[in-house]
Symmetry: C2
Subunit: 317 residues, 2 copies
């Protein structure tokens, strides 16, 4: 969800810039170079249950979900600001270590922050990113703002839809943790699902590869496939006909469709063969075809039936 | 307070960049241009009492205190990200209007955000800013990172110290509100103090002018003069001998020294006459001389006595 402060200020984005409404904002810096900006909040008891995850997991996740917004635009994170509100006694060193692990894993640095007391742990991450240069050296030096990034709104009727991996892992991992399965059991049979819940991974290489391969649109799966593919369709003004939803091993169909927090990317492209070839050539898992965009902007179907209205919900709200 | 995530990541700022430790971070963007980055949290019940201020005031303050960090570096804000965690039923439109007013007043735009539920209102603002060009057109196009900004650490023994206005207004305004004075009375006799508490002003023109006039160091008064002048002295490795503390009309001496949240700037300069002339020429209130930096890095005095240890404290913590 995004707060629409720009309406109150009576301002709209100039041509070439993207403000509120996509995964990240795209703006020109003082020299006209494109900057990607994204922010996300993670709140204990809403997004993360601290009886099932550590504050290090919470810090890690706060960074990854923010960076994922840049991945969905085909960008990369450069600098992070991390603000923490937490009750006295919170393990701030643990929280900081989770933040630092995620920053290191995504190739960016934490350059500032703020700290306050509060009744619950709230971590807010702001990421400042850029558009990596292309293979031939074109790219960040030559892309005018508004060009050369993936948006939610670029899909066209006839485009093929892909997802970068099977879905439902995070939601299944949360279910397993809520069922009280021991850490030892979890590590044996369900480790990857629990890990997917506690330590999600932003698909930076996938977003970059999709952008360079000429994909038309992308969004990350934060609310769940059913909800996020609707966001993409709404922004692009196209219909959606899904054939197939890839379900992660150990997850249910509902978790795959509505679980959310998987942070895989949904990608639309007019050149499906080129997309697959680009992923293979980059050594990435081959994206999974899930359907196509259609000319009827009202269409939202899965295997010919109405696409269910499922979506991730806050734990307690 | 700032969380030291960089220690966990084992990284330190390259020459010319400033990461955690100053009012704002100074980094190079992908094209080598300087970016200023700052973030602040405002938490209801900690920084703002919602029985005495509106959520619009809280939103306004969250933006201003973040922008003030850029003002203290001689920078300006360009883009904001605003994240809000709030209980159901919170007046988000009011909050957004306060945010938008502060953004408009400081010449920047809100380009993204996030929204979540939480037990208390928490607003986190991240500001991305730049260094305005100088009068002759030099400036942002030619300043290498690490040059041309005001820091906390540049003051030298012999420098004169100034503050951009009398202090204690915000703290006095809070005292008046806590005493239960009616809005009507407040508007008559104490309006400016109450306004200073509810609607602080970032001193952007003052920071810019000080930077262009060659000031050696600056910091904003967020924790209180006694605390913030210590921060500047600690970072610069100098002593501090204050002669005088300007007290706002209606404020007490303790409020001026320790009240905090005034967001005036403390400025050090080797050229006091030039600083005053630059402020006069810019049409700004003439900065008030408060003392000087000394060669004894342990010295912290006010009119020859020990500088009191006073500083702003959270409302409840």
């Amino acid at each position: 969800m995004q707060v629409r402060f720009e309406a109150a200020a009576g301002r709209t984005a100039p041509p070439g810039e993207i403000w509120i409404g996509d995964d990240a904002a795209l703006v020109a810096d003082s020299g006209g170079r494109p900057l990607l900006l994204a922010t996300d909040l993670v709140v204990a008891g809403v997004h993360v249950d601290l009886d099932l995850c550590t504050v290090a997991d919470l810090g890690f996740k706060a960074v990854m979900v923010t960076v994922s917004d840049l991945a969905a635009m085909g960008g990369r994170p450069d600098h992070l600001l991390v603000s923490v509100a937490a009750p006295p006694g919170t393990d701030l060193d643990g929280l900081g270590s989770g933040v630092a692990e995620a920053a290191t894993a995504t190739g960016c640095i934490v350059v500032g922050g703020d700290l306050s007391t509060a009744p619950v742990v709230v971590v807010s991450v702001a990421a400042v990113g850029s558009i990596p240069p292309g293979a031939e050296g074109e790219g960040e030096n030559t892309i005018p703002p508004g060009q050369g990034v993936l948006t939610r709104s670029g899909a066209r009727a006839g485009d093929s839809l892909f997802v970068t991996g099977p879905l439902g892992s995070s939601s299944a991992g949360l279910r397993i943790l809520q069922a009280g399965i021991s850490e030892e059991e979890a590590a044996k049979g369900f480790g990857s699902l629990v890990q997917a819940h506690r330590r999600p991974v932003a698909r930076l290489a996938e977003g970059d590869t999709a952008r360079l391969a000429g994909a038309t649109a992308a969004i990350d799966v934060s609310d769940g496939l059913a909800a996020d593919v609707r966001h993409l369709a709404d922004a692009s003004g196209v219909g959606i006909a899904l054939d197939h939803v890839p379900v992660a091993m150990g997850a249910t169909d509902d978790e795959a469709l509505g679980g959310g927090e998987d942070y895989e990317l949904i990608i639309a492209t007019a050149g499906p063969d080129g997309l697959v070839a680009a992923f293979e050539s980059a050594g990435l898992r081959v994206p999974i075809a899930i359907g196509r965009c259609t000319a009827d902007p009202e269409e939202r179907t899965l295997a010919g039936s109405d696409l269910p209205h499922l979506g991730w919900r806050h734990l307690f709200s």
